[in-house]
Amino acid sequence: MAFKIVAKNCTGCGACEFECPNKAIKESGGVFAINDKKCTECAGFFDTPQCAAACPIPNTCVQAF
């Protein structure tokens, strides 16, 4: 259970990194990526995945599988 970031949509604003309770999100080359080993989809922290709720671009922080 993890989320991923669709790199071609990412604006690099970092809203997701700031909100992530698992520190699973890092920047690389101007866009952000989610470490699927750390991502819990915010289970135990929040009702909804924070990256998707904060991301300004639709369909960019999405379920990985």
Binding site: A15, A53, A54, I57
Partner: protein
């Protein structure tokens, strides 16, 4: 030297003996309707004082990329370096890089008086980066004023820190005080770990804006309110916004035209929502003139803009160029400040003298001025990318706004293809005052009913506009009596 920079030599060109007289306040040199303490705070801030924008420069450092709301007029994915609109930025900075950039600009641009954080997202969405930047700048260059611009959603959480850090200029963008209207402008917000949509989102945003505004003004922080004028959505409603923000102590209300272009990829751009015409913008500004003092010189600049308001030297100070920067020398700035003191006072006196010569009642006319700053007519007609518009009548000359245009000259050649844009920018204008103009464009302007003159080259704007107006009246009288 890039063309739009005010050289020290170009503004104090009539040096006089007698030294630096202090500017007299309580006259039109300062806003007549502002308390002295407020005027002292804004007199060197180009975004808050129309008078200061002739002399002082600002820079925005793009340390705040993330935002906590979505606006239908914003799409931050798109950036073009030629484009001047809020929210657009070419390069994100860390607080340390921002400091390096501020030092480089301060060394190069003695007019620099303000460092602001205006995005490209929201300055308070992840406030730590913003505050860290201000701490670094304040430590290195304490004379610079600090300001920030926010949508207000996170503002109530940071009021204490803003006041404690001495950030005494805050701009809040408030487009509406009605959640139903808000829902048509802001589709969602991210607040307290969840996304809110529609009227509920707009209601939370509105409540947080009012709370933050009241708390800031209660602590003596100067707050300017920006409203984007969106025809058909909030145009009729801006009087209510004006009343609400006035009641909570905002000291300046800035009505900005919606910038809407499908090429920007914004919701409004893509759905055909148009921006206001210059006439509609001015009519709205005139209607609200009685409330909080209105600002008319805003250029809606980028979140990485550098320089005087009409220009942007951001491209001269990219990260790649910062290593070659020369060290900051405070003496250059002191010399500049003394020139400005004298210039402001002389310009005011020239305006008063010119005004005394006028007594006949007459309808106002519009005059377009080509200037690169310093309050003087000092730009070639063909090099102007904007005109400053003054309204002139026997009561004096008042700055009412600026209009962007395309340059007529390109490497010394007239650009016939830009002529339509120039004539559009000069719509309703009776005269163009510039430092120089070629015969061909002068004739073409005359054919369009516009007098163009370089008779007042390098003179003060207001005094020249009044003198031109008065000579026009006199020649009109002669013609009538002949």
């Amino acid at each position: 030297m890039p063309q739009n920079i005010v050289a020290l030599s170009s503004i104090g060109r009539t040096p006089r003996s007698g030294g630096n007289k202090p500017v007299t306040c309580g006259t039109a040199a300062g806003p007549d309707d502002l308390p002295q303490a407020v005027w002292e705070k804004i007199r060197d801030h180009p975004c808050y004082s129309e008078d200061a924008h002739h002399y002082f420069a600002r820079m925005h450092v793009a340390v705040a990329p993330a935002c906590n709301i979505q606006c239908h007029y914003c799409n931050r994915k798109y950036d073009c370096s030629n484009e001047s609109r809020p929210g657009v930025v070419s390069e994100k900075l860390t607080p340390e890089q921002a400091l390096q950039k501020v030092m480089a600009v301060a060394a190069e641009v003695p007019q620099l008086s303000v460092v602001g954080v205006a995005g490209p997202g929201d300055a308070l969405a992840h406030a730590d980066e913003t505050f860290r930047t201000f701490e670094l700048v304040n430590k290195a260059l304490p004379h610079l004023k600090l300001c920030l611009s926010t949508n207000g959603l996170a503002l109530p959480d940071h009021v204490e820190r803003i006041a404690a850090m001495g950030i005494d200029h805050v701009t809040i963008t408030i487009n509406t005080v009605d959640p139903k209207i808000g829902a048509r402008i802001h589709p969602w917000i991210f607040f307290r770990h969840r996304r809110w949509e529609g009227a509920e989102a707009a209601r939370i945003l509105h409540e947080r804006q009012m709370e933050g505004l009241e708390a800031l003004t209660g602590r003596g922080v100067l707050v300017k309110v920006n409203s984007v004028l969106i025809p058909g959505i909030n145009d009729e409603h801006l009087a209510d916004v004006n009343a609400a923000v006035c009641a909570r102590g905002a000291f300046l209300h800035n009505i900005m035209p919606l910038i809407s272009d499908p090429a920007h990829g914004t919701h409004f751009g893509l759905t055909g929502q148009r921006g206001p015409t210059p006439d509609e913008l001015r009519a709205t500004q005139d209607r609200l003139g009685g409330g909080a003092k209105l600002m008319r010189h805003c250029r809606q600049c980028r979140a990485d803009a550098v320089g005087l308001l009409g220009e942007d030297r951001g491209a001269d100070f990219t990260l790649a160029k910062l290593n070659a920067a020369k060290p900051y020398d405070p003496r250059r700035r002191e010399i500049y400040l003394s020139v400005v003191e004298r210039e402001r006072s002389d310009r005011q006196k020239a305006k008063e003298l010119a005004q005394m010569a006028l007594a006949v009642p007459e309808t106002p006319v519009l005059v377009a001025v080509a200037t690169k700053g310093g309050g003087r007519i000092n730009l070639h007609f063909g090099h102007a990318t904007e005109f400053q518009i003054y309204e002139v009548d026997p009561r004096g000359a008042r700055f009412i706004g600026h209009r962007r245009t395309e340059k007529y000259c390109d490497d010394g050649h007239g650009r016939a293809d830009n002529w339509d844009a120039i004539v559009r920018a000069l719509d309703g204008v009776s005269a163009v005052l510039c430092a120089k103009i070629g015969e061909r464009p002068r004739e073409r302007l005359a054919a369009a009913g516009i007098t163009a003159t370089d008779q007042y080259a390098f003179e003060y704007i207001e005094a020249s506009a009044i003198t031109w107006y008065s000579s026009r009246l006199q020649s009109g009288e002669r013609a009538a009596s002949a």
